[in-house]
């Protein structure tokens, strides 16, 4: 407390410390969903980012295991603590996504899960006696894993990204980028950005009117990097006496923290050190609000219909015949 103690000093600037204390006591929730085909390095990456073994890879490793036929949703929750701050971290893996011969609709369970969390939060919010603090299970970030080496987005990526970006903050990554040379990476990133612009797929971070110059510059540099070309590793390797987290190949050692090797540091800093609270806030203010608005509107419309039916003397629950809203083909327009 180094605030000047002159007579004109009010002291409301201590609110940041008051908030911090409250926050330390309460902790916070962070929910991240991983979407990508099996073998893309999802589990390894998330374990690398949080430097803890949080999730096991769900890939099939024995011949006896059955091959999944649908996308499963498997959330895993752990509480991590750092310098007194507690986070209830939920990682939602999606094994089976994109792994079949026919991947039509493989995104449906994923979108449904995300929307269900919004719906659950809304339901708790609307309760007459609601909790003081609602347990937030809404998905704050989606790491979408792109296939390295493809020319750009694949048809599956376009379909899924269009839908995902409407319901959550999407961060596209290339997790196994150690098979791409620097030139290939640059080319791939450029193509992905062009294709996303063409299909109007907007990923996180978004532009906002509240942004000041510093925010804008930071976001611009993040957008430049997207998709993040990262390499994940849970192993430490000895290189000339120092321990590095990386991968050892016959032709060299990758240090995942080396910025000339991959974008891991940038991704981690972005997700956790600069934009963490923004991810949570944007989920609440943008995605949840959109969901809430459309849900409440639907509820209102339903109630209007029911009250109109009640006024017309029809028992609630009966099917009310609706006048046709458009003329049926080959028939004269209905005279209502």
């Amino acid at each position: 407390m180094t605030a000047p103690e002159g007579q004109d000093y009010v002291g409301f600037d201590t609110i940041t410390q008051q908030m911090e204390r409250k926050f330390l006591k309460r902790g916070f929730n962070l929910n991240v969903i991983l979407v990508g085909e099996s073998g893309m390095g999802k589990s390894t990456l998330v374990n690398s980012i949080f430097t803890t073994h949080l999730v096991d890879s769900q890939g099939r490793r024995t011949a006896q295991e059955v091959i999944r036929k649908t996308t499963e949703i498997s959330p895993v929750t752990q509480t991590l603590e750092e310098n007194g701050v507690r986070v209830r971290l939920t990682i939602i893996d999606t094994p089976g996504f994109g792994d079949q011969c026919n991947n039509e609709g493989c995104w449906v369970p994923v979108i449904k899960y995300i929307k269900d969390q919004h719906a659950a939060y809304l339901a708790r919010e609307l309760k007459p006696f609601r909790d003081r603090i609602i347990n937030d299970t809404r998905v704050h970030a989606c790491l979408y894993f792109l296939n390295p080496g493809s020319r750009g987005l694949r048809p599956l990526d376009v379909e899924v990204l269009k839908r995902l970006t409407e319901v959550t903050n999407v961060i596209p990554v290339i997790a196994k980028s150690d098979s791409m040379t620097s030139d290939e990476r640059t080319l791939f990133k450029r193509r992905v950005k062009e294709e996303m612009a063409f299909h109007r797929i907007s990923t996180y971070p978004y532009t906002s009117d509240d942004d000041d110059e510093e925010d804008r510059m930071l976001n611009a540099s993040i957008r430049d990097l997207i998709p993040f070309a990262v390499v994940g590793s849970e192993e430490t390797i000895d290189v000339d006496g120092t321990s590095v987290r990386g991968r050892r190949h016959g032709w060299g050692v990758i240090n995942i923290f080396d910025e000339s090797h991959c974008d891991f540091v940038h991704l981690r800093n972005f997700m956790l050190r600069t934009h963490l609270s923004d991810l949570v806030e944007v989920t609440a203010q943008r995605h949840y609000e959109q969901f809430r608005t459309s849900q409440l509107r639907q509820i209102k419309e339903l109630r209007d219909q029911q009250s109109a039916a009640a006024a017309a003397g029809v028992l609630p629950g009966a099917v009310v015949p609706q006048p046709p809203t458009a003329p049926l083909p080959h028939q004269p327009v209905a005279q209502v």
Binding site: N103, R151, T181
Partner: protein
Amino acid sequence: MAPSAPSITSTMSTRATTPRPSSYRYKSEKRGMTYNIMLVGQSGLGRRTFLNTLCEREVIPASEAPNPDTANVADPMRFDTYEVKLEEEGTHISLSVIDAAGFGDGLDNTSCFKQLQDYIEAQFDEVLVEESRIKRNRRYRDHRLHVLIYFIPPTGHSLRELDIELIRRLGEYVNIIPVIGRADSLTVDELQTFKRNVMRDIDFYKLPVYNFCWDESDSDALKENRDIMDFIPFSVVTCDEVLDNDYDSVRVRRYPWGTIEIDDDSQCDFVLLRYILLNSHIADLINYTEDVLYENYRTKKLEVGGFGEGEGEGEADEDDDEADEDEPSSASAKKQA
């Protein structure tokens, strides 16, 4: 890992590729051995650069940037054919490589298998027709597929449904050799584990990959072939650039953390695979296609096409009555076979 690769390739060099007599293949040295390879795999696994590295020249040019609006459209499968003339240890090879572009790249890929099967069968049918002609074409070029190289992505886990279905459906029509594309994304241990998992899947699902040991009569080669099968699936890394040293040109891929040499057999199986494909086993692959795969197909096709009623009622008559339009003298062809 490939500690024994050097010994395999050195003993293999003593096996000459003597063309064995065949009822159909033309042996003209000048024209070169007719050899047809198909490359199948999702885009991004290095099929095209594999061909360029295999032929040691740019057969398929690097493609220009696709338009952004094509990203969400899965192209239907294309069969792009490239003709290359090679010379390997004195043997001229008239190589035809078919790149099956578009396999597995769409949302629903279940129709890809049928398209591939139709393509392969069409080549067999052409030969069937040609064989049956009264007057055969001396210059006829055989387009039967002798080997299909299937690219598996380096997931590190096991085979995917797509991989299993492909091998299962096409193994009876063509010799399938599975390879791991972009194998430089796997460390040595991961590669070993992955290869082991893939082999376990192949055994468990009884997948019909090419059996190098099919000719059990050739006992000298049997040991060698068993050793080769330990390498399946072959790890492939393809050449990005060529570095010119003082004494040599080295084909490499350069990363910020190191440079991988394509021709170093301790780093990938490319050299071994190339030797197998173009030198030591070219005759085996061609012979198995002609003597076994084609013959099986032919028998099946003629049985189905020839008979409306039961079998064994005087095959020659049945053929005359019920034969396809394309096979006017299939009866005589059967007698010759």
